[in-house]
């Protein structure tokens, strides 16, 4: 069964995709070319492991670990 998930890559854009139910966060991000270096990942607003299995309507947010302020 396929499910719809949305990836919000802060600072970049939004990707809507359809994947098999239970596909992991890492699987979705990797197949969409979303880099994970310097990022933290949240699912439906909460912290999530990369091996978390996704369900219909899940929202993955990729938050950059930014550090600027003075420049």
């Amino acid at each position: 069964m396929s499910v719809k998930v949305r990836v919000v890559q802060l600072g970049r854009g939004v990707i809507d995709c359809e994947v098999e139910a239970g596909t992991t966060v890492a699987g979705v991000l990797s197949s969409n070319g979303v880099p994970l270096d310097g990022m933290e990942v949240r699912v439906n607003g909460g912290a999530a492991e990369l091996d978390h299995g996704l369900g219909d309507g899940d929202l993955i947010t990729v938050v950059p670990l930014i550090k600027g302020g003075r420049s």
């Binding site: 802060l10 270096d37 990022m39 938050v63 670990l65 930014i66 600027g68 302020g69 003075r70």
Partner: protein
Amino acid sequence: MALPDFWRQLDMVTPEQLSFPVTIVGAGGIGSPTALTLAKMGCPQITIYDPDTIEQHNLPNQLYRLADVGQPKVKALQAIIHEFTDCEVNPVAERLVEADLSGVVISAVDSMAERQSIWQGSIRYRIRVDLYVDARMGAEVSRVFSVRPTDPDDVRFYESTLYSDLEATEENCTARAIIYNVLNVASLVANIVKRHARGEEGHRELIFDFATMSLLLD
């Protein structure tokens, strides 16, 4: 000289409610508009730390004027704030190492190592600091953390966000800051200070992104 009349904002915050000292560490992209915003809002006394001088590449995304290039940032910022307000500005043209701070402290620096140093040296469990605000930006994204430095839950949460400089995203030199993002951060910080002044509930983390027009709250 005329003095500001705050009656347009009195139902939101009064100068009396803002009568605590404010310290801003960093007078660049985030620090310079934040200082002017807080001064315009009615904060009566702001101390600003920054050892840097103004360079041409600071002009598009910081508050400085063309004629300020070459001047110490804190001195130019003091002059700008005095043109607009009667706020008392204490400029310190040095990096903050360790200080006995009080009231509200705002971090507007550029590295996680410096944030660690400020946190350990002057904020963590300091009873005279009522509120610590750490604002971070990169390109079109900003993250603003609000911490009560003597609240163990806040301390634990904030320390979980102190990733290292190696772990952090390194934006290209040409994608670090843009004026509308720094003005937005200044507004978010000013709202946090206003909430603190009125004893209102706040959020321990705000994330705003212009690229996707997202606002995340914790």
